[in-house]
Amino acid sequence: MIVADLAPGELARALACPGLRLRTGRIVTAIRSPIPAVAEGIGIHYAEHPLEPVDGFADFHVHVMPPQGLRRLFRRQVLFHFEGAAPFRPLPFEQAFPMLEWGLNWCISANCHQYLILHAAVLERRGRALVLPAPPGSGKSTLCAALALSGWRLLSDELALVDPASLEVHAVARPVSLKNASIDVIRGFSNDAKLGPLVHNTNKGTVAHMKPPAGSVREAQLPAMPAWVVFPRYAAGSDARLAPLAKAQAFMQLIDNAFNYDVHGRRAFETLARVVECSACFEFSYSRLEEALPVFTELADCA
């Protein structure tokens, strides 16, 4: 059963109580929320995601709801609860769906130390993973969305979950978070891009999410082996340029982009060393998607 199979109104009812048990890759989250924008966002972005039965296993229990207490009388806000506790400050009520998305990312990065977790977008072709590690503002999500709309399978726009034993990267196949100018760029890039409503004035500016392609969701249980590590950088007005990067340098930059390097210590060092060993490493600067995509097609085809 998938989210789209639910009859109208059933999604909101399940979210209200007892919670929607949503599978994203290997992770199942029991989500509760009385907020219509959350039901709407899930209906749009997770339509093809599987639902799990109540007698299965949920990894996390989250609840997105307005804060209790007097403050709600004069200011509408939303809180993200994880296992009954609220780890973050409330956000304006309009940001309920983005807050769910950020919260779900946090659930993984703070709790899934069975993986070495990199701040990176991951896409796949023929079983081989393209890892795009980058800090915010580098154009990583834009590039990731465009690749996902061009035949690459989306594993994640934000979190590369690397199994330290096998080196396989596991998928989460969740919506791609687009910010500010990149929203219109992706709208203009492809008619297949399905974007949710714009949410203004967040910490990151205006945000909209893009629904992950159905194929990526269907294959979300399949991991991929790292083959390319590419550090993207958006540079206004520049031509697309792919330049080889020394492995030692790629290694150091991967460390900078690891969320839980400190948890794994030596194991993280060794895992990343093996990742750069088995991957071709590059720096990539670009400003126009239509020039950027052929570069990656070529990369995939010549390998």
Binding site: V28, D59, E83, L91, W106, H113, V263
Partner: protein, 365 residues
């Protein structure tokens, strides 16, 4: 197995192999509640030692693997931090006693296994507090921004310096000169604790409390704490210490007298009562009786039982009943009541309440 999802954590703490028979829904409540209670690492470490670890279903097992990785990282983090402290304190001539988790770890006690560590706590003679603070400041630890009220709160009324955070590593050391606030009703004499402190084998710089004092401190910490969110974790510390020290007959024969001597008979009584009741800790009945007797008769005992029975459960909605939030609130007030005289308490709670609106928690990532 009863199959009650409310009791999975306590059942598994009593006997980790109980969990091996769980179906997925019980595993789900066990993982979620153990994480909220701060004992997931402890359970995971115990389960990992059983032969059947690999037969645990993949989904819950992944969380156990994650928790073991986290616990291992915390252990090495604390060890590294102790080396930094060693350097910082090398030039001052002062006994330094490691407290709680860092002591368990350096002394190689079972209580350190899979434990969650927060800050490092040390105990030093009050007369040398300034010297220790200065040495730590020289090596990069600083008390963060505190307003005048907080400074006064710490310096005049509590038993510790304001938490000292290292400017580059972000780690925190709590420097204590006593184990209870200066304003508390009970005043265990720190000189007695310091003079009974013991050498740790293979450890030249730091000492640890004597075993009986270690248990008394752990008990005092738990049963005077305002926040019992990690109460169950602290109770597992006590359980582990009592099991380990309890193999030495001399331990049981001195525990209760020492509790009375340090004015800590009541927290000791609670510690023995609730570890035995909740975690089946083996304590000689004569010792529990003597501790109860030393603590004095209390008509409130049934009330305390019902409060602690709730507050010492995992802090998770799946474990609560409808009275749990109230039990936690009452114990919060009780802990303050024990820490300060009434007027000071009113003032302190009012100051904190007025401040609360400034918001807490982090900004979402």
């Amino acid at each position: 197995m009863t199959g009650d999802s409310r009791d999975t954590v306590i059942a598994a703490l009593r006997d980790p192999s109980a969990a091996l028979a769980y179906g997925l829904p019980l595993w789900e409540s066990l993982i979620a509640q153990a994480r909220s209670a701060g004992v997931l690492g402890r359970l995971a470490t115990r389960l990992q030692k059983t032969d059947a670890f690999e037969s645990i279903p993949l989904a819950p097992r992944s969380h156990l693997v994650s928790a073991v990785a986290q616990a291992d990282a915390q252990r090495s983090g604390v060890k590294r931090e102790i080396e930094h402290l060693r350097l910082a304190l090398a030039e001052i001539d002062c006994d330094v006693v490691l407290l709680k988790g860092s002591a368990y770890l350096v002394a190689g006690l079972a209580a350190a296994e899979g434990r969650m560590f927060n800050d490092i706590d040390i105990l030093v003679p009050r007369s040398q507090l300034n010297q220790v603070e200065a040495a730590l400041m020289l090596h990069g630890w600083a008390t963060g921004h505190l307003d005048a009220y907080d400074q006064r709160y710490y310096r005049e009324w509590t038993h510790e310096l304001p938490p000292m955070r290292h400017v580059t590593r972000g780690t925190t050391v709590d420097v204590h000169h006593a184990i209870l606030p200066l304003t508390a009703r009970r005043r265990p004499d720190s000189r007695k604790l310091l003079s009974a402190a013991q050498v740790i084998v293979g450890e030249p710089r730091f000492r640890m409390l004597a075993p009986v004092d270690m248990v008394l401190h752990s008990a005092t910490h738990l049963f005077h704490n305002e926040e019992l969110g990690e109460g169950l974790r602290d109770l597992t510390d006590l359980d582990s210490l009592l099991r380990e020290f309890g193999t030495d007959a001399g331990f049981w024969s001195t525990l209760v007298d020492r509790g009375t001597e340090l004015d800590l008979a009541l927290p000791l009584h609670y510690a023995l009562r609730y570890t035995t009741r909740i975690l089946n800790t083996p304590v000689p009945p004569a010792v529990t009786d003597a501790a109860a007797h030393a603590a004095g008769r209390s008509s409130l005992m049934p009330v305390m039982d019902s409060l602690f029975a709730r507050a010492l459960r995992p802090d998770h909605p799946g474990s609560d009943d409808r009275f749990t939030p109230m039990a936690r609130k009452l114990l919060y007030v009780r802990a303050h009541w024990l820490r300060m005289p009434p007027l000071l308490l009113i003032r302190h709670l009012a100051t904190k309440a007025l401040r609360r609106d400034s918001g807490s928690g982090e900004v979402a990532p």
